[in-house]
């Protein structure tokens, strides 16, 4: 679960990471009031969860209250890369001398927290990695012990921070590590971490992503409703309510598979044969007819989808159950969209027979079925 900047900064404050004075505002008046209280100049920051918010015009500086009013009005209600802006963070503008980068992530193969630091802040870590990979300093932390001050100092020295800033820097590293650990984060990031002209240091932006599987441990972070509404398309949100594992893409061939890997492989195979997958939808292992029906019904309602390709490898999942679910959907509604089914494994014969009798394309290999789906999508 991605946290908004203002939420992440609240966690930063709790763990002693300095952030600029700031307040959230949901209306223009609130923004003006906030600017008055904080003092000018301020920065108005759209609270959206998309990357590249700044370049897309989501961060505006304002030197006068009139400017605040005008720019807040411009931001609120607008769309930044498809995300509606309903809330601003109004922050005291900082006098920036230098921008650094600091984050904590999970080192998957090492199975440890990994700290990344760089003197090249203000751009995506991906870009730093491309342009000057030698400027990214890495350090894995022993999770049983936690980050130690000497490690934080070492990171600071290695990115070339002047000695007089090391004391402040240590607080950022320690605080960010604490946030990462306490809130079960997948990522805790400060970018940019600003050095100001008066020799202070501030977290200008803040990004925390909490492990979806651990959100239950942090009820204070968000109500269930708010949690689900984040960063999801309309259909993704609906899929969550239905309990489906669904991700929206921009193609026209609906994909259903059992198992995440198989579903991705199905998408890839469709693409390999020239088609465009519209989504990822995994019904998991051992699905019964009801779940099959629910998933199929869900995709059939999607306006962009022309053809649905269901790819089932029956292991624990039984092919006759799958067929039963498909037939339920067809019985209950008039389906105009084409359906391609690949069905193999446990009870394969029975399942195929049931579907053939209903006049549905059934294939036994993924490649054949994918080619057929692509062909049908072209015809529509």
């Amino acid at each position: 679960m991605k946290l908004y900047e203002y939420e992440s900064k609240e966690l930063f404050r709790r763990h002693g990471i300095p952030v600029p004075p700031g307040r959230v505002a949901d209306t223009v008046d609130e923004a003006v009031k906030a600017a008055e209280d904080i003092g000018l100049p301020v920065v108005l920051k759209a609270q959206v969860l998309v990357a590249g918010r700044g370049k897309a015009g989501g961060i505006l500086k304002a030197g006068t209250l009139d400017e605040v009013r005008e720019k807040a009005a411009r931001l609120l209600g607008s769309e930044i890369k498809g995300a509606k802006v309903t809330r601003l963070l109004v922050e005291k503008a900082a006098d920036i001398a230098d921008e650094l980068y600091l984050s904590v992530i999970v080192d998957r193969v090492g199975a440890k927290p990994l700290i990344l630091a760089s003197s090249e802040g203000g751009v995506d870590i991906e870009e730093i990695a491309k342009k000057s990979p030698e400027k990214i300093v890495r350090r894995t932390v022993d999770p049983f012990i936690g980050i130690r001050d000497y490690e934080a100092r070492l990171l600071g020295l290695k990115i070339g921070l002047p000695k007089k800033l090391i004391g402040q820097w240590v607080k950022f590293v320690r605080g960010l590590y604490e946030v990462f650990m306490e809130y079960d984060a997948d990522l805790a990031e400060i970018n940019p971490l600003a050095v100001t002209r008066d020799g202070g240091m501030l977290a200008l932006d803040a990004k925390v992503i909490v492990d979806e599987n651990a959100v239950f441990r942090h009820p204070e972070l968000a109500s269930e409703e708010l949690r689900d509404a984040r960063d999801l398309t309309e259909f993704e949100l609906k899929s969550r309510q239905l309990g489906l594992s669904f991700v929206e893409l921009d193609g026209d061939i609906g994909i259903i598979g059992n198992g995440a890997g198989l579903t991705m492989a199905t998408m890839d195979t469709v693409a390999y044969y020239g088609g465009k997958p519209a989504n990822f939808l995994d019904i998991g292992g051992g699905a019964g007819s009801e779940l099959v029906a629910k998933a199929l019904g869900f995709l059939l309602e999607h306006p962009r989808i022309k053809v649905v390709f269901m790819n089932i490898f029956g292991g624990i999942t039984r092919c006759d159950e799958v067929a039963k679910g498909i037939l339920e959907v067809l019985r209950e509604r008039s389906v105009k969209k084409k359906i391609v089914i690949r069905l193999t494994g446990t009870n394969e014969e029975e399942g195929r027979r049931m579907l053939r009798e209903a006049g549905i394309n059934v294939f036994s290999t993924m490649d054949e079925a994918a080619m057929k789906a692509v062909e049908l999508a072209r015809e529509v």
Binding site: A51, P143, V270, P277, G345, T365
Partner: protein
């Protein structure tokens, strides 16, 4: 002949009285797996498919001192506790089927297991099978057959898909390991590859990767360093996955510029490992690299 588990492996099922635990205990017994005990706190004294159930691993091990492996079907909130209990009771291998365990919990128990010399397989994995000998997991047993190809995979069903194709093409398997679809797993590709490298019964390796992390790239680097020398064929799922979105598995996500399928494919191809474009191609490429 095989890696990690064989017909002598003695298994304890943790969470044996639950729906999944009981169901798969039956399937494993049917396959021939030597399950000696089950554990569910508070349910000691019962039997499940003829297997005695204990309250604690300590008791189970006291009664069945030959047990050396456990498989965990415990819900996510209680699974880490079960893992620690398994490690502390001296299990050499712990297979964690459970999905949705918070990654920080997994990070902790994986490090703990390493410090104790226990091998964790999973979490969020289908388990491990040495066809014809034992199956410690939830994979359908009949699609595998004994042979000389090792399989290591981050996926479940996709593994079955490919394994079945191998079986049909006449390539039986020494051992197939589903390492799990979470960001952090116990046994990783590198460690698994090392085991297959050392196993005389394994002639070649099929690697089934997916987006997220850089385990595939690191395996490619390991091959480049000459630490894995047997023929390899790879398949990578998720070439069409968008960045920043979890694709079902908690670990299947492209983030901060790492984890892209294209990078993994390139890494393998650069070290001479053929990568199949579709799952069905795996068996064909295997024929090429094995020359039979």
């Amino acid at each position: 002949m095989v890696v990690l588990v064989d017909e002598n492996t003695r298994v304890i099922v943790q969470g044996i009285t639950g729906r999944e635990g009981s169901f798969h205990t039956k399937l494993m017994l049917d396959y021939g797996t030597k399950i000696v005990a089950g554990v569910t706190p508070g349910k000691g004294g019962q039997e499940v498919h003829g297997i005695p159930v204990y309250d604690t691993m300590e008791e189970a091990v006291a009664e069945h001192p030959d047990a050396n492996t456990s498989i965990i079907f415990v819900p996510a909130r209680f699974a880490p506790d079960a893992v620690y209990e398994a490690i502390d009771s001296g299990m050499k291998i712990v297979v964690v089927i459970t999905e949705h365990i918070p990654v920080h919990d997994t990070m902790m128990f994986v490090n703990y297991a390493k410090s104790k010399g226990t091998i964790i397989i999973g979490p969020n994995c289908p388990g491990i099978i040495s066809p014809g000998k034992t199956k410690i997991g939830i994979m359908p047993g009949h699609i595998f057959k004994p042979g000389r190809i090792g399989i290591v995979s981050r996926s479940g069903t996709l593994t079955y898909e490919i394994a079945y194709a191998l079986t049909l093409a006449g390539y039986g398997q020494s051992t197939a390991i589903g390492v799990g679809g979470d960001p952090i797993v116990g046994l990783n590709f590198l460690e698994a590859a090392k085991l297959f490298e050392e196993d005389e019964g394994t002639e070649g390796l099929v690697v089934i990767g997916e987006i997220g992390g850089d385990m595939e790239e690191r395996l490619a680097a390991m091959i480049k360093r000459g630490e894995f020398t047997k023929p390899v064929v790879a398949y990578i799922a998720g070439r069409t996955a968008p960045p920043g979105k979890r694709m079902g598995h908690a670990g299947a996500i492209i983030s901060m510029g790492t984890g892209r399928a294209e990078d993994k494919v390139r890494a393998f191809r650069e070290v001479g490992v053929p990568v199949a474009d579709t799952p069905v191609d795996v068996a064909k490429l295997l024929k090429k690299v094995l020359g039979r």
